[in-house]
Symmetry: C2
Subunit: 184 residues, 2 copies
Amino acid sequence: MVPGALVLASSSPQRKAILEQLGVDFTVQPASVDELEQGDPRALVIENALRKARAVKGARVLGADTAVAIDGRVYGKPRDSQQARRYLERLNGKKHQVWSGIALVDEDGTEQTAAAVTYVTFRDLKPAEIEWYVGTGEWRERAGAYAVQGRGAALVERIDGDFWNVVGLPVPELLRLVPDLLHR
Amino acid sequence: MVPGALVLASSSPQRKAILEQLGVDFTVQPASVDELEQGDPRALVIENALRKARAVKGARVLGADTAVAIDGRVYGKPRDSQQARRYLERLNGKKHQVWSGIALVDEDGTEQTAAAVTYVTFRDLKPAEIEWYVGTGEWRERAGAYAVQGRGAALVERIDGDFWNVVGLPVPELLRLVPDLLHR
């Protein structure tokens, strides 16, 4: 039996770009669901990924969610530039967690989930650097108010874990759930 | 005095992409130099970066070099698919070092250098995964025979350190040498 086509239940251009980069054959169908915003970050990203995957019809649907956490608080997408500035000041010079969860829901009802954490350490940013980044507007629609694969690269000293997990999709976990991902 | 324009002395599309991603104003002028191929990886990437930066004329020239090292051996660009396969088998399931060095040479003769190491851990790859990657041809012109920002993302379990250093340019070190990089 040929495995069913993969449907990405996400509107994130970053997640689409990761699957394209890997050469995966897939289609996109964004899911519109209510998302958890606070709680244990691992449980939260798995639950949100599941909600997205369940909301879309397809042979094999992939949902995903990403959250930034530091000191037990989850930081989602900032609502405006003031909140973005506060998030970046909170992360400045420190190590935080980025959790991404994935959920695979097959047509026959089979559900699989996984999550991974990557530690991201911010550089010691000067106020002018934070202002520069807020001014780029890149923080919009980004958990934690930064995009590590964009201008936000300048904010980061180091990462420990899977890089793509910070961008939005835990690639090693996805390959464990879908071992034939690269050959479909 | 307005700082001089930055010239990237490299033919690497990846290094160009990193500077573009950061929004840096620069031009490209590839340097053609004899490069060291073996030796202490830190000293090697700094020396090669310096050779490239010195070989190009400009107000402020940036040279860079990247090398993969494991068990005291440096792995450069593979010459053919057989060598690429051997490199990948050597890295399979293990942690290796990626060193990138940068050199900044100013018109007045000032020279500054820096280097950084990032640890990259490969997944436990099946022979079919190595064959798949060799078949992509992506290993061409890549130190260590893989491109972490391409299909090669599928080979990697985790990284510890600066991600961009693995792609070809140590961003935190560059920002330390050129604090006004983002505002030029």
